[in-house]
């Protein structure tokens, strides 16, 4: 299947594990064009005028929700946010009924974030609007994975053959899973490293190299993607203290020096400065963290466009 033949029109975006290489490439190519719009003085284009997007967030989120909201608005769609911190179980209304309610209002896309793994799959089966998974538990966060791919490709030219190290709490990270699938599909070699208690058992069967020390994982790496450490994991007893984590697993300039001199530093945010990443690394020349945010917007614009319009030609006149 070539890029010319592939279409994402009407397709749910649930994860990168089940996405094909031509589909990923189509999204990345489209995102490159979208990025030009963000840099314009007047950003609004009429491409998605008359279309509606609902951000249905069951977990708090600032950057992903704002990114989707602006992505929709820059393309001319109507965007509504529904944020409910309680899970459907607590709230008393089932996820299916919440989705049916949103569907009945005639929306075209539901962007959903939910604490339960597989909730996006559930939504895709339950209702007709296109479902874009904005993070389902520890399962996947496909738009983060795609924006990370976009960033790597933009900075490094190509992904094939790169050594990418993903550092931190792999066990609970949807970002890690989407990155692992996406990077491997595009030909990168992926290493993961973190405390053994935060590495899923049998993770090597996903095709990655596994380390419980950061140093060997960093050695010669072209890209270092540092994950956020949720402090709740300490309360669950998965590591002793934040202090020890920072000492053993935190990425500081000395450790980063083990990677390639031009290694790209990434972080999905929000950062715990001084814990998983030192400020010197976060704000270094090598850091692409700010660029990731901008690219996230471009990737989400591309996705909204591709699932609704299907093609690759963008009408960019304001």
């Amino acid at each position: 299947m070539t890029k010319a033949q592939v279409s994402l029109r009407g397709k749910d975006i649930l994860g990168l594990r089940t996405m094909s290489v031509p589909e990923i490439e189509l999204i990345l190519d489209t995102a490159r064009e979208m990025k030009h719009i963000i840099d314009r003085d007047i950003k609004k284009v009429p491409t998605l005028r008359g279309k509606s997007v609902v951000n249905l967030f069951f977990e708090p989120s600032t950057r992903t929700r704002t990114s989707f909201e602006l992505a929709g608005k820059y393309l001319g769609a109507d965007v509504v946010n529904i944020t409910t911190s309680a899970s459907s179980v607590v709230k008393g209304e089932s996820l299916r009924d919440t989705l049916l309610t949103v569907e009945a209002m005639g929306v075209d896309i539901i962007v959903m974030r939910h604490e339960a793994e597989g909730s996006a799959h559930f939504a895709a089966k339950a209702v007709k609007p296109v479902i874009i998974n904005a993070g389902d538990g520890a399962h996947e966060h496909p738009t983060q994975g795609l924006l990370d791919l976009f960033t790597v490709k933009e900075k490094k030219g190509s992904i094939a053959g790169l050594q990418v190290a993903i550092i931190g709490d792999i066990l609970h990270s949807r970002v890690a899973r989407s990155n692992i699938w996406g990077l491997q599909k595009l030909g990168a070699q992926v290493r993961v490293a973190g405390p053994r208690t935060l590495l899923p058992r049998d993770i090597e069967q996903m095709g990655v190299k596994v380390y419980d020390r950061v140093e060997p994982a960093l050695e010669g790496a072209d890209v270092v993607n540092i994950l956020r450490l949720q402090r709740e994991r300490q309360q669950k007893g998965l590591f002793p203290t934040a202090r020890e984590y920072a000492r053993i697993f935190g990425i500081n300039p000395q450790r980063l020096a083990l990677a390639q001199p031009d290694a790209l530093v990434m972080h999905p945010g929000p950062m715990n400065r001084g814990l998983e990443i030192s400020p010197e690394v976060a704000y270094s020349e090598q850091s692409a963290i700010q660029e990731q945010v901008k690219n996230g917007l471009a990737v989400r614009m591309a996705l909204l466009f591709l699932v609704l319009m299907g093609g690759t030609k963008i009408e960019t006149t304001a």
């Binding site: 089932s94 996820l95 339960a116 538990g137 058992r201």
Partner: protein
């Protein structure tokens, strides 16, 4: 009242019988087996091309009554049993209230006598409220007809309480049934821990949590000399522990479910709540070990763990769905399709695991076609092809990981105490 089953293949593993002939039933008991029997005034049921087997017995059914009738009740559950070819089912006590005293044992037994399509035997709770703290009135419940004791659904965390339960139940020759999963290891997991859980990000219930629990229970059974039955064995390690224990003469028996014998954790890949069960569906190496264990007799019994839930309970995100699903109406078809038609087991072996062995393990009447035995008989067509459509189930629990699956082999008639309670899928009770 006489009933003649004409010309079927009679398989009775308890007597080593496998022959083509007639079976005469009189006054609710088996009267005569084999050869050509003159029908006289008997009603005749044509059995040519069918297998005539002792009625299937399920040692692990959740009837959900009292208190959880949105999931199932005695009427719907026993009709599901009849449809699936089961003539006796043993119901678990994790109801509301928990069946933990003689009045409840007697009450469920009595209601089952009035409303049940098949025989129902009651398993009483091992501890009060299944809370794992104080022993329930085990002696009283056994006197009221309880066939075994179990806190099924929960592992008895305290080794001291479990030891006491074994010793106390042992006084009455009561079998203690263990749901063996160490909750401190498995408790917050949703599926088998392995490559699939790693990929899906779902917290795992590691196989070792079951191995540890089975090892502890087996050691306590050995120490006390009491009777122990391990419910729904699902791991390679547990099979090996039980195998060694049996060699040492420990009085332990074990069961395995059709789903653990035939499905792997890959059934969870689409996050279908129908694939959520405790213990979880495991990876291929475990399935292989279960098949080997069933073959060599380490695992004595195939039991369904029929665990129906209401639609709205299962129609949620995978994490929030209760574990378990209906099993009575698919068990025989799944077992025949995956274990018999694949050449792994013979029909006498499977009938042993589903009728003779369950009767032996709980000391129940039945499980054989010996003259004088209760006329509990299952007729099945090992070659009938059908597709699982859970909307046609008698059980209220329509959720099953076998939905849509094509199966080969189906119960054609279920006879309980000489009465035909199911014929061609139609339950008459």
């Amino acid at each position: 009242m006489k009933l003649l089953l004409k010309g079927g293949r009679i398989i009775d593993p308890a007597q080593n019988v496998d022959l083509v002939g007639d079976v005469l039933v009189q006054d609710g008991r088996i009267a005569k087996v084999g050869g050509q029997i003159d029908p006289g005034d008997a009603e005749v049921l044509e059995a040519r091309g069918l297998v005539v087997a002792p009625g299937l017995i399920d040692l692990h059914t959740h009837l959900r009554e009292p208190g959880l009738e949105a999931k199932e009740d005695i009427g719907s559950g026993t009709r599901a049993a009849a449809a699936g070819g089961f003539t006796t089912i043993c119901c678990m006590p994790n109801t509301r209230p928990v069946i933990d005293n003689a009045v409840l044992v007697a009450g469920v037994t009595q209601r089952a006598g009035l409303e049940g399509a098949v025989n129902v035997r009651v398993i009483g709770a091992l501890t009060k409220g299944q809370e794992g703290k104080e022993l329930a009135e085990i002696g009283d419940m056994i006197a009221a007809g309880a066939v075994a004791l179990s806190d099924d659904g929960h592992f008895v965390e305290s080794a001291r309480i479990f030891r006491t339960g074994l010793e106390y139940a042992g006084m009455f020759d009561g079998v203690v049934v263990s749901h063996a999963e160490d909750e401190s290891l498995a408790g917050d997991g949703y599926m088998h821990e392995g490559a699939v859980s790693a990929a899906l990000g779902l917290r795992g219930r590691p196989a070792v949590s079951e191995d540890i629990a089975v090892a502890r229970d087996v050691m306590l059974a050995e120490y006390t000399g009491a009777l122990l039955h391990i419910a729904h064995v699902s791991t390679l390690g547990a099979v090996e522990i039980i195998r060694q224990a049996k060699r040492r003469g420990v009085r332990v028996t074990a069961e395995v479910t059709p789903h653990h014998l035939t499905l792997t954790d890959e059934a969870v890949l689409g996050f279908d709540p129908a694939a959520k069960v405790h213990p979880p569906l495991r990876s291929g190496e475990h399935v292989e070990a279960l098949l080997a264990g069933l073959k060599d007799g380490t695992l004595d019994v195939i039991a369904t763990d029929h665990a129906p839930h209401a639609f709205e309970e299962k129609d949620v995100e995978f994490r929030y769905a209760p574990s378990g699903f209906a099993g009575l109406e698919t068990a025989l078809g799944v077992v025949l399709t995956e274990l018999y038609h694949t050449g792994k087991f013979t029909l006498p072996e499977l009938i042993d695991r589903m009728a003779a062995a369950p009767a032996r393990v709980f000391g129940l009447e039945g499980g054989t076609l010996k003259p004088g035995a209760p006329a509990d008989i299952t007729l099945f067509d090992p070659n009938q092809e059908w597709r699982v459509d859970s909307s046609l189930f008698y059980t209220r629990g329509k959720c099953t990981p076998f939905a849509g699956k094509s199966l080969k082999g189906k119960a054609v008639a279920t006879i309980v105490g000489g009465r035909v309670v199911m014929k061609n899928g139609e339950v008459r009770a």
